[in-house]
């Protein structure tokens, strides 16, 4: 039943087909005999009769094939010899010319038969090729419809097996080290993994099986073994690359959905923060109105008054914190789409400093703006929020009374704003992490109060403007936070 891998003409010789061939041979032989009879009756010479027979053999070769035409040609030679060469009615020729004529006739007949056979074989081959293309197409379509919630390998193995009617398919996914087997395949798991590790493709005509390394680009991502098949090597290659695409696609989909899940949980967290902050606001307002009311009434003696002032101050602080939490929760919650406008950088800085006035008290602030740098194309609220965070941060982590320097630089492609404070060395391994949400560097818990949200807001704001935020820190020169915003934004022209 099984045929060799290379043979494209692997067609079953069923009994029916043999009978058909025999019937055609008989018919052909009958036709040859009839022609002989008619020619003999009409007293044709050898050359005329030969021409008639050649016509018949050619027609049979084109219509039916090599075998039929060969048999008929042999019968024709016998008839021509018997009826048309001297001595008549004997299978013997006395004239060497007749020998030449009949040998030539037989050679031409065989050649024509051979040619016609090749033509029909090519036709069958291209038909088979077309069929395998059709199946590959089906496979590629079905791959698109694979269930993404279930493991991809098992689905893929059974899909290949069903589409190409092979005995067995074994698929190994190197991403999650998962092996899937469908049907019967006489290979061990180690063999399959070996194919992946040695990166060697193999076709065995003995067992009618093929091994392929699955690749995404140049990188091996798995291995495929197909057993008991009659596919040509290029089809197997195509199946392998389709499988690789399917595995890669499933992987990127799952990566995407993981990111989506992370985003959703982040959103939930922000929503909770926002809700909590709102819930805190109302009682805080009440406490604040009581404490500030008591102060305003001015009926208390020294101690009482000092205590109430303390309550009043701390309530303000708590309320400030809540406001910030609410603000940042909102930044994290919304996909930031900056509403950009042309802003005067000195105005924005002024407003940001005013907003952080309480935190900055005692710190001398120096602003150096590049002479050409006047305006910036950014979202007012977001930029101010980011700058406020940087200023608060600088004030929080530097020693009391130390200066804070703000610089603005105009580069060809970007506008660079930096905020520098003295001290507060940030080790290199933490410079990325401090921009992550809720990250607090190990030493900072004792040093300064904070929520670990501020710098993540700076990062988000700058990234929403297609810019970057980073930090340089060294124990002598101090810590400098940078925000760079691209100048080539819309409206810059």
């Amino acid at each position: 039943m099984a045929l060799t891998l290379e043979s494209g003409c692997g067609v079953d010789m069923t009994g029916e087909r043999s009978r058909e061939v025999a019937a055609r041979m008989l018919l052909g032989v009958g036709a040859a005999l009839s022609i002989t009879g008619v020619a003999f009756y009409l007293r044709f010479n050898l050359s005329s009769a030969t021409s008639l027979h050649l016509l018949l053999v050619t027609a049979i070769a084109l219509r039916w094939g090599f075998r039929e035409a060969s048999v008929v040609s042999l019968v024709s030679v016998a008839c021509l010899d018997y009826f048309f060469t001297e001595p008549l009615f004997q299978l013997y020729m006395s004239d060497p010319h007749d020998w030449v004529a009949l040998v030539t006739f037989e050679s031409v007949a065989l050649m024509v038969s051979r040619l016609s056979n090749q033509v029909s074989r090519h036709a069958r081959e291209s038909e088979a090729h077309g069929a395998s293309l059709q199946k590959l197409y089906e496979l590629s379509q079905s791959i698109l419809l694979l269930n993404r919630q279930k493991p991809i390998e098992q689905q893929l193995a059974s899909l290949i097996s069903d589409t190409f009617h092979v005995q067995g398919v074994v698929l190994w996914n190197a991403y999650d080290l998962h092996l899937a087997i469908h049907g019967i395949c006489d290979v061990s798991e180690d063999d399959v993994r070996g194919t992946y590790f040695t990166e060697r493709n193999e076709d065995s005509s003995l067992t009618h099986s093929s091994r392929r390394v699955l690749r995404s680009g140049t990188r091996a991502i798995g291995a495929l073994v197909i057993c008991g098949h009659s596919l040509d090597a290029s089809s197997v290659n195509a199946i392998a690359s389709l499988s690789a695409v399917a595995i890669e696609r499933a992987r990127s989909f799952s990566a995407e959905s993981t990111a989506e899940a992370a985003r959703q949980s982040e959103q939930l967290r922000s929503a909770i923060l926002d809700g909590l902050a709102h819930a805190f606001k109302t009682p805080l307002t009440t406490i604040k109105s009581c404490s500030s009311g008591l102060i305003e009434m001015d009926r208390m003696d020294g101690t009482e008054k000092r205590l109430v002032v303390l309550i009043d101050q701390e309530v303000s602080r708590l309320s400030d914190l809540t406001t910030r939490l609410m603000r940042t929760a909102r930044v994290e919650n919304a996909t930031l789409s900056p509403r950009r406008e042309r802003l005067h950088l000195d105005n924005i800085l002024e407003e940001a400093i005013a907003e952080s006035a309480q935190q900055l008290s005692g710190h001398p602030i120096a602003i150096h703006l590049n002479a050409h740098l006047k305006t910036i194309w950014a979202d007012r609220q977001l930029l101010k929020m980011a700058l406020t965070q940087l200023l608060d941060n600088a004030a929080k982590y530097s020693s009391p009374g130390s200066p804070i320097t703000i610089e603005g630089l105009q580069e060809p492609a970007e506008i660079l704003i930096s905020v520098r404070n003295e001290g507060s060395f940030i080790p290199p391994e933490e410079r990325e992490k401090i921009f992550e949400r809720f990250y607090r560097s190990p030493g900072s818990n004792r040093k300064a109060p904070g929520t670990g949200i501020g710098l993540s807001v700076v990062k988000q704001v700058t990234e929403s403007h297609l810019g970057r935020a980073w930090v340089n820190s060294d124990s002598r020169a101090g810590t400098t936070f940078f925000v760079s915003l691209p100048r080539t934004a819309n409206g810059e022209q």
Binding site: K281, T285, T286, S289, C290, S292, E296, M297, V315, H344
Partner: protein, 231 residues
Amino acid sequence: MEQRWNVLVVEDEAALRQSLFETLSALGFVIGEAGTGEEAQVRLRMVEYDAVLLDINMPGIGGMEACRLIHRDYPHIPIIMLTIRDEQDDKVEALDAGADDFVTKPFQIRELTARLRAAIRRSKLSPAPPNSLTVIGSLVLDPVRYRVEKQGREIRLSPKEFEMLRYLMQHAGRPVPHTRLLTSIWGSEYGGEREYLRVLVSQLRKKIEDDPANPTYILTDSHVGYRFREA
């Protein structure tokens, strides 16, 4: 002894309402209380108030709608809105709905009473004739002669600067939203170009303020607009 003004406090949060009642009463106001906008309307029909203190977030018709209705029915009673910080759109909307001023939660009682008193005082003043001199601090604005003087010395202003100063001084003590100021100076097709305002304000401050970096006349009402200091 200052006059005891009648103020209606409309606040759904009972604790805050109580604290406002206690403190404001102690500070010389006569306080009426309402828990919703609907209740406020009932009380306004029964008692004559000098001002309404209105929370922006309330059940029922809500603060904004209550503000609109009260302003429609009692245009002479100033309304002070209690708003939440960071919701700048609310503040502008409240001003457009007829509120006279707003105070951001959580607030200092001192600030609240100052705003209340200023608003009530303004409401009791008979409106000045449009061409009269406006005097605030050491600034004198004469709309007829197109002149501004500070401590007797004339200050030269561009027409736009003059327009802005006149508008702000005529609305002294009240917050003026960006859009209202823009349209009053440049006309109704302007409204979004706040940067124009910022430039104009900073020019004006350089001319009229003693220290433009710490302005005492033109104050910034963050997220909302500007406010000229009280007379």
